[in-house]
């Protein structure tokens, strides 16, 4: 990986993602920090990236590298974690039952991805599906459900009944249209930045290679 990418491109991309994902458009505009659960999910997500070989931490932090190079690497890792936490917070509804369901949904998907131990390509595709589906659910489905102006009378009656049945835990604050565009751009930027991380061999591939080498050694010994 070139020093330019490591020192400039990746940290600035991830910090821009962290900034945009925390920006809550509305009246008033405010910047929201990541939720504690998003920090846990971000740990899992970074773990998935490492296990799949999408991120090779030894190419960012290593005893053989200079202090300056290790500082750049540490900043890439820190900003990757911050951006991941902010993106996951951005994709999670703010309150009620949807918050609980989304957190469970993201947790299960990330654990499932971690357990299957995919290589870099499938892991990136899986990440795209996780973030894309969460985006669709929050900014399209939930936004449509929480929009008081859209739809006809029957839809409003059904929504009111549904809201009453769930003790008002479904409806969310109305999402401004610009938020969806901003979220989409943020996710795209995040995926680009993750794809540009220094890659290595996945744990699964490393284990297979080691097992193969051990078998070969056993055969030679015999």
């Amino acid at each position: 990986m070139s020093p330019l990418r490591e020192a400039f491109v990746l940290p600035l991309l991830f910090m821009t993602v962290a900034l945009l994902a925390g920006l809550q458009i509305g009246s008033p505009i405010f910047f929201s920090p990541p939720s504690p659960f998003a920090l846990v999910l971000a740990c899992l997500l970074v773990g998935v990236l490492v296990r799949s070989g999408t991120l090779a931490p030894e190419r960012l932090l290593h005893g053989r590298r200079t202090v300056l190079a290790n500082s750049n690497g540490a900043i890439v890792l820190a900003t990757l974690f911050a951006a991941s936490a902010q993106v996951l917070t951005m994709l999670t509804p703010s309150s009620g039952l949807p918050l609980l369901l989304f957190d469970a949904f993201l947790l299960v998907l990330l654990i499932n991805t971690a357990v299957t131990g995919p290589d870099r390509g499938p892991a990136l595709r899986s990440l795209l599906v996780i973030l894309g589906s969460a985006f669709l659910l929050k900014f399209v489905v939930l936004a449509a459900l929480s929009n008081p102006e859209g739809g006809g009378r029957l839809r409003r009656v059904l929504l009111a009944l549904f809201d009453a049945a769930t003790l008002g835990t479904i409806s969310q604050d109305q999402i401004p249209p610009a938020s969806a565009y901003l979220a989409f751009a943020t996710i795209a930027l995040y995926i680009i930045a993750v794809a540009a991380l220094p890659a290595g061999a996945s744990w699964h591939a490393e284990r297979s290679t080691r097992a193969l080498a051990e078998r070969e050694m056993t055969k030679i010994a015999e």
Partner: protein, 166 residues
């Protein structure tokens, strides 16, 4: 030679950008003017528009409080000048003050403005030497606004009608 230069530059740029993002999260600016004004005041380069401030002061002294606030807002778009914010808070106090009752909405806005003035004043201490005012410090003004928002038995004292606006 070139690689250490790139790495040092990247490190510096990352730290500056991270500090900027941290500043945004701490100060929560609402407008672009507040962002630029806040950054300028951090490096000591923020100045209010003096002609607009003078206009605001003139309106304030003629009890034209809405006009004065418009001029003060023009003078201090970033809401980073303690004295201007103090006058804005004072204008809310004078407009909201009533012999029989005070306007809670105006007093609440005044309290928010005086809190802003205290937040941006050096060490939170603000003294305004203006002979036209009867309260010269942000602490006095804040206490007066808070007293005005409180509900207690003294609100029913008929002698309240004889009190004077400060």
């Amino acid at each position: 030679m070139r690689e250490p230069l790139i790495r040092s530059g990247g490190l510096l740029a990352s730290l500056i950008y991270a500090a900027f993002i941290g500043w945004l999260y701490v100060h929560q600016p609402q407008t672009f003017a507040q962002v630029t004004g806040g950054i300028a005041s951090t490096v000591g380069a923020y100045h209010i528009d003096q002609p607009s401030f003078a206009d605001g002061l003139q309106f304030f002294r003629r009890d034209q409080f809405v006009e004065s606030r418009a001029a003060f807002a023009r003078a201090d778009p970033a809401e980073h000048d303690a004295k201007t914010q103090f006058y804005i808070a004072y204008s809310y106090y004078r407009q909201g003050w009533g012999r029989l009752y005070n306007s809670d909405a105006l007093f609440t806005s005044g309290l928010a403005a005086v809190n802003k003035a205290i937040a941006v004043a050096p060490s939170g201490r603000l003294v305004v030497d203006d002979p036209d005012l009867q309260m010269h410090t942000a602490d006095e003004l804040k206490a007066e606004l808070e007293r005005g928002l409180q509900r207690d038995i003294s609100d029913f004292n008929p002698l309240r009608v004889f009190r004077k606006r400060k």
